[in-house]
């Protein structure tokens, strides 16, 4: 196996490499852990191999899985920003704390001072060929931005607009993101280019966020028949237990989670709408039945 791995490493000369800088903002690392769950390709293929023939990722910075250590690693960030203008993909996981000048989140130190998440995203975002907002926190603010948003957290697009940064943003929300949504988006970029990504009005690839949960739900027949679960653990549609499948756009019912083992509604838990910009304030209390008023607001 080592022989194979060595061969893979050698083969990479002449391969087109996409440098990736993966920053963690105000989040929980859950999206990183979820991407580690990628099944085909597996995470080792994403890091070590050509993801599609002739093209591969070069994961230069990732706080959790790097072997590397701080000083030199912070230098990697600086070098990437300076030397590879427009030549790298910035992946942000977690929201951007902006209150009080960004003091609520730093990723390390530079020149003896805290390097805030806000500052890093601004510097690296400006020169990136593309920014991927991975997970709902990075896309729309998510839980750290929930009422009363004590740290002034923002998603990438809102932050870029404020800082007048024109870099394209692709949102791949989810709490956490599904590994296939990330890998699938990367595949489109490697095969056909960023412009081939068909995004909805919320900046999400329609490939994964094109259909309502409710449309493909295995409990849909129960809804149609009016068979509703009255309490957790009951059979039937989970609408009365607060299921947000009626206004949540994601392919969970078809794709399922953890390599197709299960997913929320199948496991008897209402969809909590975790891919939507309104998550969590607009999608809670979790177990409160949604109303027509909720739906009208969301339709805009």
């Amino acid at each position: 196996m080592v022989g194979q791995t060595q061969k893979r490493a050698e083969k990479k000369i002449g391969t087109k490499k996409y440098s990736v800088v993966w920053l963690q903002g105000a989040g929980c690392t859950g999206c990183s852990v979820s991407v580690l769950n990628a099944a085909s390709p597996r995470i080792q293929n994403l890091v070590l191999d050509e993801v599609v023939p002739g093209q591969q990722l070069n994961l230069m910075f990732h706080a959790t899985i790097m072997a590397g250590q701080g000083g030199p690693v912070i230098e990697v960030l600086k070098d990437t920003e300076k030397n590879a203008k427009g030549g790298y993909i910035l992946v942000l996981e977690g929201a951007i704390p902006t209150a009080e000048g960004g003091v609520y989140g730093s990723i390390g130190e530079r020149d003896g001072r805290h390097l805030t998440i806000q500052q890093s995203v601004e510097e690296l975002g400006k020169n990136a060929m593309l920014t991927i907002a991975l997970g709902t926190c990075a896309a729309y603010g998510g839980i750290p931005a929930a009422r009363p948003n004590p740290t002034g957290c923002k998603g990438v697009k809102a932050f870029f607009d404020e800082k007048k940064i024109g870099t394209s943003v692709v949102n791949i929300p989810g709490c956490p993101v599904h590994p296939d949504w990330f890998v699938g988006t990367i595949s489109v970029i490697l095969f056909s280019g960023v412009e081939a990504l068909d995004l909805d009005q919320l900046g999400r690839p329609k490939l994964f966020y094109g259909k309502l949960i409710h449309e493909n739900c295995p409990r849909r027949a129960d809804f149609d028949k009016g068979k509703f679960a009255q309490k957790l653990g009951d059979a039937g549609c989970l609408y009365k237990l607060g299921c947000r499948g009626h206004y949540t756009y994601a392919d969970c019912p078809l794709r399922q989670w953890n390599n197709g083992v299960n997913w929320c509604v199948k496991a008897g838990s209402p969809c909590i709408g975790c891919v939507e910009p309104e998550f969590p304030d607009g999608t809670s209390p979790v177990y409160q039945k949604i109303t027509f008023e909720d739906l009208r607001c969301l339709q805009k």
């Binding site: 080592v2 791995t5 060595q6 490493a9 050698e10 963690q24 989040g27 929980c28 690392t29 859950g30 852990v33 580690l36 769950n37 099944a39 597996r42 995470i43 890091v47 070069n58 994961l59 230069m60 910075f61 706080a63 959790t64 899985i65 790097m66 072997a67 590397g68 250590q69 701080g70 000083g71 030199p72 690693v73 912070i74 704390p97 003091v103 609520y104 989140g105 730093s106 990723i107 390390g108 998510g142 839980i143 004590p150 740290t151 709490c175 309490k231 989670w257 953890n258 390599n259 299960n262 997913w263 929320c264 496991a267 008897g268 838990s269 969590p280 809670s284 209390p285 979790v286 177990y287």
Partner: protein, 478 residues
């Protein structure tokens, strides 16, 4: 996280451990439906979200008056979900967060990101043995993914499971699911027995000096965890430095904030009446973590603390494997309080849990209840204490007008990586670094290895200063 160590004449004189991220979960939770805490608090940590699912469910069970009423099936399924995540977390930690400090991946895979940049000068294993370990690093990626797959049979999905809820669990045990779970689990058990534990021994034999490095405060705390119909897997206990068991009472927990970026008016409180009021301009503060203390003492939590607690309460299933492993590497019980002791404890604990999971699985009764209905009381309070992969975790809730009026969380990393308390006592991790000899300040392996042995749940950067306060190096650990 950031670590700052002052080195004088090659020895760490002072160490500061700082949490560098504040999201304000305690503030965000106020005014919400109490049951939502079970969903939202999982997002505190995506590596061990089941720990917060469990702690919040226990806290809400307690506040809703459901103690003693949770069905046996629910206790077992909760433990199976939680146990799967322990295995995932421990395997991830050892192979993917810690092993590359001991195993030379670059000599096998080449100078590739994310294996470079790194520090050089203390990779002691080479040739076939090293190549095997690198193979195991890669194989472990598959095994930890499979831990999440087995978890989601009853947990629905992972990270952030949906199966553990106040009152019980949402999934039902069927014969088909039990068999499916069993065989997925067997593959993981085989890996733990034939790869993980032997690898820890290989590293322990070569890096034996790390049984003496990173001793820490020596006082350990375990709230106890895995509440099963037959009792708890991990026994509650505070163990003093001379290995005496002391009784535990949650009222003795307080959190100091003199060196944290929170208002001093909240210092020294028990979390049942705790407060979280950020104050980012405080002069002497250096962390967003508070300083939890037990009867005013610094305590270490985690696998080491749990196994020591079980060991001195003569739990045979814990004692035998520990004595066996200590014999394999030729050290005594006191050597467990060290960098390698923590890794060994984590590996042995993985086996203890994985083997017990078979019993839990076979104790499930298809067709019997998995959940009881709960009602949110007008006003109430609750506590949920359990053990996360990284150590003791506690949730405290106050309910008024059927809404959350106060929510407090003490995570294991707060215990281990806390800053100095109001009396000036350094936290557990800080104490483990103070006095450590650093051979090469440009390649401070000793400190990276100490920090990682605690498995802090935050990405962490470490900075070295010389005795005059001049920066002499900086590095990052996770």
């Amino acid at each position: 996280m950031a670590i700052e160590a002052v080195i004088d004449d090659g020895v760490v004189k002072e160490a500061k451990s700082a949490g560098t991220l504040f999201r304000g979960f305690e503030i965000i939770l106020q005014g919400r439906d109490p049951r939502d805490a079970n969903r939202l608090t999982q997002r505190i940590c995506g590596v061990c979200s089941t720990a917060h699912a469990m702690a919040s469910a226990l806290c809400l069970d307690n506040a809703f008056g459901l103690d003693g009423k949770i069905p046996d099936n629910a206790k077992l399924i909760r433990a199976l979900i939680f146990g799967s995540d322990f295995l995932q977390s421990h395997i991830l930690h050892f192979y993917h967060l810690a092993a590359l400090d001991y195993v030379d991946a670059v000599s096998v895979l080449g100078e590739l990101y994310p294996f470079v940049p790194r520090y050089e000068g203390d990779y002691r294993i080479s040739g076939q043995v090293n190549a095997e370990l690198v193979n195991h690093y890669i194989r472990a990626l598959d095994i930890r993914r499979k831990c999440h797959q087995v978890l989601s049979i009853f947990g629905g999905k992972m990270p952030h499971d949906v199966g553990i809820v106040p009152g019980g669990v949402t999934e039902k045990p069927t014969e088909e699911r039990i068999t499916n779970f069993l065989w997925r689990l067997n593959e993981i058990r085989e890996f733990i027995d034939s790869v993980y534990i032997p690898d820890v021994i290989v590293i322990a034999k070569v890096y034996g000096d790390y049984f003496k490095i990173g001793r820490g405060c020596r006082r350990t705390l375990a709230y106890g965890g895995f509440d099963l119909p037959t009792g708890e897997l991990f026994k509650t206990g505070v163990v003093s430095p001379d290995l005496r068991l002391e009784p535990f009472n949650a009222d003795n927990i307080t959190e100091d904030v003199k060196h944290s970026w929170y208002a001093d008016s909240g210092s020294g409180k028990n979390p049942a009446g705790g407060q979280t009021e950020p104050e980012t301009r405080k002069k002497q503060a250096y962390s967003f973590l508070k300083s939890p203390r037990y009867k005013g003492d610094v305590c270490e939590v985690g696998p080491l603390a749990r196994l020591v607690s079980n060991y001195i309460q003569t739990d045979a299933k814990t004692k035998e494997p520990i004595d066996w492993l200590l014999g394999q590497v030729g050290v005594g019980i006191n050597a467990l309080f060290s960098v390698l002791g923590r890794h060994a404890a984590r590996a042995l604990e993985s086996k203890l849990i994985a083997d017990a999971m078979v019993d839990w699985l076979l104790a499930l009764k298809p067709g019997e209840p998995t959940i009881i209905d709960c009602e949110i009381p007008e006003s109430s309070e609750g506590v949920g204490l359990t053990e996360a992969p990284r150590g003791s975790v506690g949730h405290w809730i106050n309910i008024k007008d059927r809404k959350i009026s106060r929510y407090q969380v003490i995570s294991p990393t707060s215990w281990n990586a806390s800053p100095k308390d109001d009396k000036g006592q350094p936290g557990a991790l800080e104490q483990a670094m103070i006095g450590t000899k650093v051979k090469d300040k440009d390649n401070p392996f000793e400190l990276v290895r100490i920090v990682r042995s605690f498995d802090p749940c935050l990405a962490c950067s470490v900075h070295l200063l010389d005795a005059r306060g001049i920066r002499s190096g900086a590095f990052k650990v996770v």
